[in-house]
């Protein structure tokens, strides 16, 4: 075990407030691994990552941008169930919608690790750095261990509430998404399409006008905006 991981594991025992522990983990991960920031995202279904904790605004943005564009390292890490390491975001051709906007926001490298337990894969720990360059091997081992810690904390939080309900931290994300899901349902009826196509239409509009999906969704729900096929 390296010094960084020892620091983290050592601090875990002193956590007074488990509800704040995911935020703490994001900050600690970033500091100890020489990253600029980190975010813990849940991925409730195929390609809709949402943060339940982030070290800073930009870490949060890295994940939110993927929710809007429908592509990116966090989504790939969840889909494939393995780490996605992108040391040079400026030159990659992997995510034509995500990468340029992330780079424009000052994100130079992204590393995404799935939160896995057995066969289940329910979220992703995403790191970013404002300079390009690889994640050193020794740090990758620590990063994977931190993904395990993030996994453990998230499940410990959820284990405290009865089945059928969501822990407050996760509930907050579900609440943020409310308007997006409502708009998806409306677009399904208006365009006669299924839920996946409906959210794709919503995302395409948000991307085209350069606004967050939530804002465009709110316009649809309040009927200020009606999307055409």
């Amino acid at each position: 075990m390296t010094r960084q991981l020892a620091t983290i594991v050592g601090s875990l025992g002193h956590l007074g407030d488990p509800d704040a522990s995911l935020d703490w983990l994001c900050r600690t991960c970033a500091d100890e691994l020489g990253m600029t920031g980190a975010a813990v995202a849940l991925v409730p279904s195929s390609n809709d990552p949402g943060n339940i904790a982030a070290s800073d605004e930009r870490a949060s943005f890295v994940v939110d941008l993927q929710f809007t564009s429908g592509e990116g390292p966090t989504i790939d890490a969840h889909r494939d169930g393995r780490p996605v390491l992108e040391p040079e975001l400026a030159t990659t051709t992997r995510w034509p919608a995500f990468a340029p906007e992330a780079v424009a926001a000052g994100v130079a490298a992204v590393f995404a690790l799935p939160l896995q337990i057995g066969a289940a894969n329910f979220g992703v720990l995403t790191f970013y750095r404002d300079r390009p360059g690889p994640l050193r091997d020794a740090f990758l081992v620590d990063a994977l261990a931190m993904a395990d810690v993030a996994c453990e904390i998230t499940l410990c939080l959820q284990a405290r509430v009865p089945p059928g309900s969501l822990h407050e931290v996760i509930e907050t994300l579900a609440t943020e998404r409310t308007v997006v899901y409502q708009a998806t349902g409306m677009i399904m009826v208006q365009l006669g399409v299924g839920p996946e196509e409906a959210i794709a239409v919503l995302r395409a509009r948000a991307y085209a006008v350069g606004r967050p999906v939530c804002e465009v969704a709110a316009d649809v729900v309040s009927r200020r905006l009606r999307l055409d096929p």
């Binding site: 849940l42 409730p44 279904s45 337990i117 057995g118 066969a119 289940a120 329910f122 998230t154 499940l155 959820q158 284990a159 089945p163 059928g164 309900s165 969501l166 996760i170 579900a174 998404r177 409310t178 899901y181 409502q182 708009a183 998806t184 349902g185 409306m186 677009i187 399904m188 009826v189 208006q190 839920p195 729900v221």
Partner: protein, 249 residues
């Protein structure tokens, strides 16, 4: 296969609980059977504590062993009970004369033909799972080096069981998280569908969904799921009586 080979194979098998078709009863039966093969005892059985705190005989190498273990547990008397309570191994090399120690168990075991009885704890530090019972047809039926082997097998099996339980609990929580989140998404999407189809706002759509659920004694989540899977016509939700009518959307 030599004893050494069987011993090695047994330890590997007892450590390997993270397999797709893991079955706890099958696993414990294998532990009991291997004790009989490897330790020269007549019978072996595993007694584990259940979620309600009661000890239960879960696997025995024979029916006569199982019956005695049941009596031990029901009457709260015998080596496996003492072992469970103390967390330490229990030895009785001569059951003849042990009636004072175990007034119920000793005569029962003697009547079944057992002359010595042993129990080793199944525990990891302060986490006590139960006990492994070993009965022999002769006095002094388990030499001390073999008791150490029995304890090692019990230890490996305990770690295997705890590991599997830990992973399974985590998987269950992870699944509950996904199910609860998806139910939330489906409800909100259904509100949107009803709002668009009935030209109302989402609050009114929610009231319609709830009204329908209450009228038909269905869970709200189930009504939302049916709306999304198109098993339920939105017109039926609009109608105050809840009766289906009109054309499909």
């Amino acid at each position: 296969m030599t004893r050494q080979d069987l011993l090695s194979r047994t330890f590997v098998e007892l450590a390997d609980t993270l397999v797709e078709n893991y079955d706890q009863i099958d696993f414990l039966h294998r532990l009991a059977e291997r004790c009989v093969s490897l330790l020269g005892v007549a019978e072996a059985g595993v007694v584990l504590v259940g979620s309600e705190g009661q000890l239960r005989p879960l696997a025995s190498s024979s029916e006569r062993m199982h019956l005695i273990e049941l009596i031990e547990v029901q009457r709260q008397d015998g080596p496996c009970l003492d072992c469970w309570r103390s967390g330490e191994a229990v030895r009785e090399d001569q059951l003849t004369g042990a009636e004072a120690r175990w007034p119920v168990f000793a005569p029962t075991a003697l009547a079944a033909g057992f002359l010595s009885a042993y129990a080793v704890p199944m525990r990891l530090r302060d986490k006590r799972l139960g006990a492994l019972n070993l009965f022999a047809n002769q006095a002094y039926g388990l030499i001390e080096p073999d008791e150490a082997v029995a304890q090692a097998m019990a230890d490996v099996a305990t770690i295997g069981i705890l590991h599997e339980r830990f992973i399974r609990q985590r998987e269950e929580v992870s699944e509950q998280l996904q199910v609860a989140f998806n139910a939330r998404a489906v409800l909100e999407q259904a509100k949107g569908v009803v709002a668009a189809a009935t030209s109302t706002d989402v609050d009114e759509a929610f009231a319609l969904l709830r009204g329908y659920a209450r009228h038909h004694k269905l869970l709200l989540s189930e009504v939302a799921r049916q709306v999304m899977s198109r098993d339920l016509d939105v017109e039926a939700i609009r109608a105050p009586s809840g009766a289906p009518r009109g054309s499909p959307r």
